[in-house]
Amino acid sequence: MSSAEYDIIIIGAGPAGISAAILADQHKANVLVLDENCAPGGQIYRAIEKNQQNDNKWLGQSYQDGLSLVEDFRGSRVNYLHSATVWHLSSTKIVHYSVNGKAHSVKGRQILVATGAQERPFPILGWTLNGVMSAGAAQILLKDSGLICDNAVFIGTGPLLYLIAHQYISAGIAIKAIIDTTPRGNYLRAMRHSFGALKNAKNILQGWRWKREIIKSGALYISNISGVRINGSDSVTSVEYCQKGKWKNLNCKHVFLHQGVAPELNVSLSAGCEKSWNTRQACWTIDVDQYGQSSVEGISIAGDASSITGGVAAAQKGSIAVLNMLCNMGLISSNDREVLSKPFIKKLSKELIARPFIDALFKPHLRYRVPQDSKTVVCRCEEVTLAQIKESIGLGCKGPSQLKSFTRCGMGPCQGRLCGLSVTEILAKELGIREEQVGYYNIRPPIKPVTLAELASLDES
């Protein structure tokens, strides 16, 4: 079996991946970009070319900003494979992926993981009911196909929640309510980062304006709550929230949940990259140096896939990482790397100054990270509840891997993506130890399900 070889293989065609690809191409590197989506842009600039044709202005300026990047990418000589699912990245820099049910193997001299972020789990009672989706899902449906639902209830915290709600009302779609779970104390904690607040003045004002516009559109704005749950037998019938000790009911058929985003870990962890617990963002981040080089030689991580810094920062991180990779291969000198990185580092620093403020303001309350009610489903795939996890801990379960043997928690097809962060924090809380000591699931390939037929097709490539 011989694998095709590339100088650089980039996994993910979001802002980090395509910025890196464009730059590598300019320096004459032979680049392959593998992306799961059907068009470049990642989740942030998803379907941007299509929306240009439809003239969908209500998606907002920050979205439109991605168009030039995607156009530059399309204009480059980069080998780009869309609808390609990567299911294995080895520490020896071999990438296995499938397109249309056929598996392929490629080897890179340098690898860039730019798989972006995913929404963090939001385990509350009823979050598995039909009619409940993530707010990110609502935005994807809107960007991809203009698909919306009327009178939905949005629950959670984070910039994306407000962005999508604002996109909804800008497109003239009625929202029933926004249940804002931002802890009241966060406003105070965020203001301690006053320099960041100052740097964020424009965004804060915009957020405030958005909130006003959303309320003006007729949406109920509910905040200062101490609990929330979703009711229904098969599909959603109502949302209940606790305000001043009283549970109140709100009838609805559609609920969109959001509790911020966290790095997509499975690709880097399966390749053996080291991680650390980030208390500020309450999630794992992948350990990288100033260039994005991970603990595994030749594998770099850029954008939100290493730590959450947003789309604009992702593009800078992608550029910085790829310059280092070009330098590692001897395609540019280390002096060139320093000189060429400068503008990207400058822009990145500007983005990072604002971060502590944003992180403090939107850090989800512990009660929305570690479920309150023991009947809450934690692992959606294997239908494992908090009660079962607590029972296992009582029986002597000490960590995520053991929990798998006790309950099958995290052993379903999503491979811990929708329960891993919750499991780390539940174990830390119950065992009274630090998240770092609890650790995470051991992520092993294939990181996406592969059929035997796909595996068999590998030899023919």
């Binding site: 598995t128 009911l129 196909s145 203009g146 497109a171 599909s235 097809p413």
Partner: protein, 99 residues
Amino acid sequence: MFRSINSNQGELITIYFENKALNVPKDYNVATALLWAGVSDFRKTTLNNESRGPYCVMGLCFDCLININGLDNQQSCTIQVSDGMKIKRQAINSSGKNE
């Protein structure tokens, strides 16, 4: 119930859901097409027989699994519709067998 606010849906093609013909936009993925057609119950869970449908729509959660052209466990949010595609709910019970 989902609806589309895009005035121009482009070319429509025919897919079959539970043997019923549906005309859906050609550039939709299977999950989007079914949501657009009013389907929200995509599958039943193996243990508790609970209804599930798309949750993340970005290939992470595997809650939108469905049978496409005879194959179970297809991630409907990552697969584009194609003309004549046959989609069915899969019903794998806890014994692991198709009902």
